[in-house]
Symmetry: C2
Subunit: 328 residues, 2 copies
């Protein structure tokens, strides 16, 4: 918390964020320049993600949900590596319109999720901006005993699996944009909740660290993110669209408009995990899914070559226009 | 580097930032979701600071200098605690006007300073914004063997000292805003350079960690930041304005307008250190200043009570209108 800040911002940090920090292990009350941790020979894992109003969430989104989504997209990055979250730093660039009521709601939502996920707020910065509300969060965690899961270990013949159901978040965004008007309220609510409040797969990631050959979270879409694994592992992959697990709501939407399959396969923001494993691990993975109550579904195979080929379940190929993002 | 990013941003990360990261100890090439470190039972110190175009630097500031200032304000937070910097995460919210030439210059400036200060870029995020360029950086470091310097250890009778010269940056900002037009070019250039490119006092901070009773960096102004030490330590302080060390350029400016003393005492952005020490440490501190080639000047004393009282060197009190920032 350095550089010149106006008095109002000090008051606001003190009022809305210091209480969240006081229970943390780092800098109690956010009163020093930096936060301090003891680490006992651990392998530290750290990530940062930013959200901009009007770009990553609707301008009028509830402050509680913005806070939770900000934390959760970062938690998902640690889930993607099988790491355990510990502490975070919060950076807020606030436009004038953000008032104390907004900050109070934001801090309440953040506090709930910090508690739920066992994360301490240990520092950050608050600045003024003439632009839109811009938030970023840096999350620190620790690798588990099994080490971390990376993107680069996928091998020829490995199974490709996903957690949960795929495509809900991108369909949820369509719902919020007034598309998919034919859906009933329950289905529409389910899909938009999946977009607004992702569920980071921390326990799954942690337990996959010694089991999966490669893995990551699905933030850019199943095909694009599996493509990242393929690129990092120097392999290709084939997935069978008919095996991709869909929620009842997504299935309902798809039945009324089959062209939505493209959005389901290439849309982002699900924050499920996509991972690979040698076929012999299948019973172990099935048992893991049952133990943590999360559906784990084999959707394809690691192949020679490069890139991700999507089949339709009847021998045909589905060519996606928007897989994109190949150059990272 | 999670959530949906357009292909252009992947290209840009890959082109401008992955080369900076490839030499780092964390995530080589920025290809995983999070960065990984080995820490050998260290005391981790972590800080984050944000800069917004038009708020914290002029819109047309050189990209090299923006990059360096962003890193350096964070380095100063570690200097303030006597910690050694190791790695950083960079979050950029980029408006459309930021083109590849800008990013190339920014990344060149950042690379220079990462090398100069021995810091590895290990991760971050790049997003689009309809607002002004917004940058934040999280810096991770380690406490030295002597532990960290905090704000809360100042005791009655301690000397109050500062490093370097005070007030240059705030006068430099006035120069950049077209004030202080009477100054010669050399003096004006010196002052604005002190604003644009601060020098984090890392070695001083590290060596003070076992020597100072309390300390922090001067980002909000000498009086305000000494006030933070007083508040954290439950003491007051008196400083003698006539002993506050001024650069030749600041002295020249002050001579032609004595009312600038208020700006010198209360203006921010010097990123010098203000610290306290028991009087018996004076010879040791003098020797330290000589060893590292940095002027260290006693400017006052820790007193009973609260707040910072400024004297004019002739028994009078200088009352500042803009000390502010008392409520943190």
């Amino acid at each position: 918390m350095s550089h010149k800040t106006d008095g109002n911002e000090f008051d606001r940090i003190s009022r809305f964020f210091a209480p969240l920090a006081s229970a943390g292990e780092g800098a109690p009350g956010l009163t020093n320049d930096a936060a301090l941790f003891e680490t006992a020979g651990a392998r530290l894992v750290v990530t940062a993600d930013a959200l901009v109003a009007g770009v990553h969430f609707p301008e009028k989104e509830s402050p509680e949900l913005i806070a939770k989504k900000l934390l959760r997209v970062n938690l998902s990055d640690l889930a993607a590596m099988g790491a355990v979250p510990h502490a975070c730093l919060l950076v807020l660039a606030l436009p004038k319109e953000v008032d104390d009521d907004w900050l109070e709601a934001f801090s309440a939502g953040l506090g709930e999720d910090l508690g739920a996920f066992g994360v301490a707020l240990v520092g950050g910065d608050m600045v003024a901006t003439p632009g839109p509300l811009t938030l970023s969060l840096t999350l620190l965690g620790e690798a588990g005993e099994e080490g971390v899961m990376t993107r680069s270990g996928a091998r020829l013949g490995d199974m490709v699996l996903v957690s949960g159901t795929i495509g809900d978040a991108t369909l949820g965004l369509k719902v919020m944009n007034g598309e998919l008007a034919g859906l009933d309220e329950t289905a529409a609510g389910f899909l938009s909740a999946r977009y607004r409040l992702p569920e980071p797969r921390l326990e799954l990631g942690r337990r996959l660290a010694g089991m999966a050959s490669a893995g990551m979270d699905i933030s850019d879409g199943l095909v694009a993110d599996l493509g990242h694994i393929c690129e990092a592992s120097s392999v290709g992959a084939g997935i069978d669209a008919s095996r991709v697990p869909l929620s009842p709501a997504a299935r309902t939407a798809l039945v009324s408009d089959l062209s939505l399959m493209e959005a389901i396969l290439s849309g982002g923001d699900d924050y499920e995990l996509v991972f690979t494993a040698v076929p012999g691990r299948e019973p172990e993975i099935t048992a893991l899914g049952e133990a943590i109550g999360l559906q784990l579904t084999a959707v394809g195979t690691i192949l020679e070559g490069e890139g991700v080929r999507v089949e339709d379940g009847h021998g045909g190929e589905i060519v996606l226009n928007h897989t994109g993002y190949k150059h990272f």
